[in-house]
Amino acid sequence: VGTLVLVEHDSKMVKAGTFSAITAASKLGGNITALVAGKDVSEIASKVASIDGVKAVLTAKGDAYANSLPEALAPLISRVVKAGNFTHVVAPATAFGKNVTPRVGALLDVQPISEVIAIQSPDTFVRPIYAGNALTTVQSSDSVKVMTVRTTAFPKAASSGSAAASISETPAGDDTPKGVKWLKEEVSTSERPELDSAKIVVSGGRGCGSKENFWKVTEMVSAALPGSAIGASRAAVDAGFAPNDLQIGQTGKVVAPELYLALGVSGAIQHIAGMKDAKTIVVVNKDAEAPFFQIADYGLVDDLNKAAPALVAALKK
């Protein structure tokens, strides 16, 4: 077993999902090599070298790898896999991992495995299907197992702080992406922690009534719960209350915080698929018939406009 982990980063920071991918890779046994590709990679490479479990870091530097375009990364990864005889490729199941990994599978002619939540052996994996309503155990006989792992299913690998892994450059190749040009990115900046790694998530649904009220109640409650992130249901995103990157659910983000506090979210199965591994679920909704109450640890039937300020006051006591 030799595992190549794809490092997701933004040139300054290693993204949280990478640390979970490294933990998942460690369950496969065998050495872990981390691949860092980007326009400038030296800072990231030394950060990755100090993550526990990483044996070696391979870097690929150049304009071709800026912005993580799969048209450039997939040929690089498949070349590295062949040159290094890697048996496994692991990436976090984030927008980055989901975009790149299948393209690698196509180049290597192997069937990728998406959103792995448990590793039973180097060739046997568990993954959710039907919006998490079933778990399937699959066995791969492909020469290279290419997979994304659900980041909430694997704890983050620790960083020991001192560079322990060797760092070397991958053999050069021309991976200039063909037929695609990156134009721009509009990424929301927030003082709050990232949704997929926050200990507490406050989420709002259509029950918030309007965009103004969505932000009023979620921000009010979030401010009273330090370290909390704000999320949204699909209905709230579709209604324009919140941007798409806050959507939690089957086709959005998957979160597993200590505390999940849903405000005016009805609890459609697609939403529950994205948060049912939260440790404690609290649901506040004025509709006592909301399906979410059936899985909530604590439910409160009340009007949000009354309950939210009262909750803030009670939390401050």
């Binding site: 790149v100 079933a134 040009k181 509009e186 995103v237 579709d238 798409n244 404690t280 109450f293 909750l311």
Partner: protein, 221 residues
């Protein structure tokens, strides 16, 4: 059998491109048993010009890589400028077929699209994609593979006259052999289990009671 909701969005985008005079023809393709022809008839009723049914009846080996290889066979035959797919199926939730197809064809890919605009010369598409922190915009040369996210458009419903008209639209059936594809998979499903169910807890009658439970019972705040 109903159409995957993300594929409905992809199809709607194709039909809109034709209505705007940008696309000349919309071909709907589905891989599956005979029942898949019903889904294709729905696509024809919604506005596709013709359908291609790739007949295959063994779902246990029709994994995304096989589907992508079959679609590549259709692409090589039909030579479209644009292939639109849903970003993921809502049964196996793999989110792979579009990326696999783009990789097999060595075409650029624009996944998780929330906005698609073709230039006047029909050689490039400006595409906005939903990524983790927000949105990313790419300029992609045709031919390309695009996958639709939820907010790309709102699919229409088929009208009764169009449902009747769809019965006369051409629908061709191909076998994997016709596309020189051997359907096999390196992935075997060993078992399918039900995940542990969460049980509902208690309904509290006040925010004070709720905060007390969170502090002293769940100990999460």
């Amino acid at each position: 059998m109903s159409m995957n909701p993300f594929d409905e969005i992809a199809l709607e985008q194709a039909i809109q491109l034709k209505e705007k005079g940008i696309a000349t023809e919309v071909v709907a393709v589905s891989v599956g048993p005979q029942l898949a022809t019903e889904t294709l008839r729905t696509a024809l009723a919604l506005g596709a010009d013709r359908g291609i049914h790739i007949a295959y009846d063994k779902p246990e080996v029709v994994h995304p890589l096989s589907v992508a290889k079959l679609l590549r066979g259709v692409v090589l035959k039909e030579k479209p400028s644009l292939v639109l797919l849903g970003k993921q199926a809502i049964d196996d939730d793999s989110n792979q077929t579009g990326q696999l197809l783009a990789g097999l064809l060595d075409w650029p890919q624009g996944t998780f699209a929330s906005s698609v605009a073709l230039d006047e010369k029909k050689t490039q598409v400006t595409l906005t994609r939903e990524i983790d922190g927000g949105l990313e915009t790419l300029l992609i040369d045709l031919p390309a593979v695009l996958t639709a996210d939820l907010r790309l458009n709102t699919p229409r419903y088929a009208s009764l006259p169009n449902i009747i008209k769809a019965k006369k639209k051409p629908l061709e059936t191909l076998k994997p052999e016709d596309l020189q594809v051997e359907v096999k998979s390196g992935l075997k499903i060993l078992k399918v289990d039900e995940p542990p169910k969460r049980k509902g807890g208690v309904i509290v009658d006040s925010v004070e009671a709720l905060v007390d439970k969170l502090r002293n019972e769940a100990k999460v705040i």
